[in-house]
């Protein structure tokens, strides 16, 4: 998006200082922007008041269209900003990603921070709730995701061997990267927990010669994956199972999970550990790829309500609840935060190029909500509000792993 020049200040404009603003709501907004840590933004109110927060050139102009919206955003900004943006009660001109980055990076007043980032109370992810949560996001229609994902339909962080690699290249490189991390070999039996549209499962079979049983509770994704396996003649070596990871049975050489842990919930990490423990052979190894945090924090309240119900990005400390009780050995952790920022930037650019089609498939509100979600995702990763962890592990006494990690980087 082109960034818009701030218009010259008039007498109703103030920079984090309430003097000169006509209305009480203008003064409230001015106070609010200071409490948020001085985000450099220009706000235009329905009544003609203009309030600028922070120092320097505003990254964007935010138009607030009515008093109720302003009061709601001040009262519960994390939730209500997204709601108002989706409705069009708030409009942003200029750099939406830059605005979100500025908000994430602003050193909010410690008291304000607790108030501003309250999160939503999470409910435990039972089997039924997991199915419902996953349905609400992943069953929006494969046609929708096809508009802005890569050809392989991978909806997780890509791995860019160089910053300039294409999204297509980077998603294939990611599949190769995780396969190498678990030292995947021909004939290995793999269980995949949360397989999306099935690309990684098919890659492990086609390129690496593994046999794969892949679990997912999204009906649409499983149907798509099965059809693709049939088309590619891989039905004999890849089985797509529409079921919960908690129902994994059997013994495998490798446990693979890319982008599912976000939906598991910390209350289930020990159970996930037991599932891994009971499904891995003595020489077994595995990998979990997940969005995470440096510090424990509830998921953004609006994202939790509208985009990813039930989701929770864990810290590494929290993830260790999976491995430690069952004596699995962590071999390698890689933080790919900036790779996710690049991935989401690609998604956003493709999304914006197809937003007209999204409007026709759904409606304006949906289209605006997803623009905000994808923009916020870029910003969350560039500002280290979110991290991306790949954690490779193995049975404690498995001594046959590659001697160094150099093989990950051979072409």
């Amino acid at each position: 998006m082109a960034s818009e020049k701030a218009v010259p200040m008039n007498e109703a404009v103030t920079r984090g200082d309430a003097a000169g603003i006509r209305s009480a709501t203008g003064r409230l907004l001015s106070w609010f922007l200071r409490a948020m840590g001085g985000v450099a933004v220009r706000c235009e109110l329905w009544n003609g008041d203009v309030v600028e927060g922070g120092q320097g050139e505003p990254v964007a102009t935010v138009k607030v269209k009515d008093a109720t919206t302003l009061l709601r955003v001040v009262y519960d900004s994390e939730l209500e900003f997204g709601e108002a943006y989706s409705d069009g009660r708030i409009e942003v001109t200029g750099d939406l990603v830059g605005l979100m980055e500025a908000i994430y990076r602003a050193p909010a007043h410690p008291l304000a921070a607790r108030f501003l980032r309250r999160g939503l109370k999470r409910s435990a992810n039972t089997h039924a709730r997991s199915r419902d949560n996953v349905h609400r996001h992943y069953d929006l229609g494969n046609e929708f995701y096809r508009l802005w994902l890569d050809r392989e339909m991978l909806y997780t962080c890509a791995y860019f061997p160089t910053p300039g690699a294409s999204l297509e290249e980077a998603q294939i490189a990611k599949m190769e990267h995780v396969c190498r991390k678990v030292d995947l070999r021909p004939g290995d039996r793999v269980v995949e927990a949360g397989c999306g549209w099935g690309s990684l499962a098919l890659y492990m079979a086609r390129v690496k010669g593994a046999t794969v049983r892949a679990f997912n509770i999204s009906k649409e994704q499983i149907a798509y994956a099965r059809e693709r396996a049939r088309r590619e003649g891989l039905e004999g070596r890849v089985e797509f199972v529409e079921d919960d990871y908690r129902n994994v049975r059997g013994r495998y050489d490798v446990f693979m999970s890319v982008g599912m842990l976000e939906h598991v919930g910390p209350e289930n990490y020990r159970e996930l550990g037991r599932v891994i423990d009971s499904s891995l052979e003595a020489h077994g190894r595995g990998l979990i790829h997940t969005i995470g945090r440096n510090r424990p924090e509830a998921l953004n309240a609006w994202i939790a309500k509208r985009i990813f119900p039930g989701a929770y990005p864990p810290t590494l400390r929290e993830m260790m609840e999976i491995f430690e009780p069952v004596n699995l050995s962590v071999l390698d952790v890689e933080n790919l935060r900036l790779h996710y920022a690049s991935t989401a930037r690609h998604w956003l650019d493709r999304y914006l190029a197809h937003v007209g089609e999204v409007r026709r498939m759904f409606d304006e509100r949906f289209a605006r909500a997803w623009e905000l979600y994808l923009s916020g995702t870029v910003a969350a990763f560039t500002s280290a509000t979110l991290e991306l962890f790949q954690v490779a592990f193995a049975r404690a006494m498995h001594n046959e792993m590659p001697w160094t990690r150099a093989h990950l980087y051979e072409s």
Copy 2:
């Protein structure tokens, strides 16, 4: 060590079965070997009884020279085996490393495991206690360590680019590896916490062009390091400070600590995190290299009493107490467990080649204790009783780190 063939069974020999043993102590030992999980060992008692535990060829023969020793080992095996071995009240013929591996790997009965591995109660590492603990191990005399360490006198896990690399090559490769992990650049200011005999500090200055302030509370090591800096003309760029890591002051680009965390104690991890937080610049990054565990467990009681008082190898979960409260971002964790097994094997071989000199410097008891300690170290790492973690981290919002880890593997 050459492994010794088990002598033919006689009528007083039993394999984990008390029938046929003459004495009550023999029957006790037989019971004890079963409780330990069936370690394949041949035990010869002072009274002529021979007891064999486990299945298959015994890895070693253990001679127990008196009843008191046997009772003590049964009562508190973790502590008393080492005590008796050092005194010569227990003698082992055959493969001592193999025996220790068998003990570590044996699936001890769950009730017995709690009894067998009780550990010693750790006291908190105050400044004074830390100084005393470190003095007892690292101030044994530089001449002693010179007998069996590499030329650079690095007393931490090496990094073997290939399994066949020499210890000398592997220790230099380790220094290069950790420098690359923190993206060390000419002109960087580094603080090193726990610098041993100073090799890494000097390497960072000489090879990487950094300026280094290196902390250590071992008097002998600091004296050696200062003399070496003077000899190499690096006094202007490397300052060796005889002080506790808790007294680090100033701001640095890089925080480096290789082999100190084992001596910090989990009660001090939060304070260590605060020290790192207050000493790192906004673009700061760092690395902690430490012995660790898959699951929390007290240090082996005998090691804690005789070799490393106050030491504690943490799990990754416990280590996160350093980073999480101060919002440091973990970028890379590498588990180098088998590299430590190789390192310790090199040390043990060199030690055994010089054990006569050790006897002359100290005495027979010391020489036997260190043979057991180094053998047990090899076994602890091959059996996954201990792990080796290198954890690289950075300020959360530092976005200028290398794009991938490929540069770690360029020659």
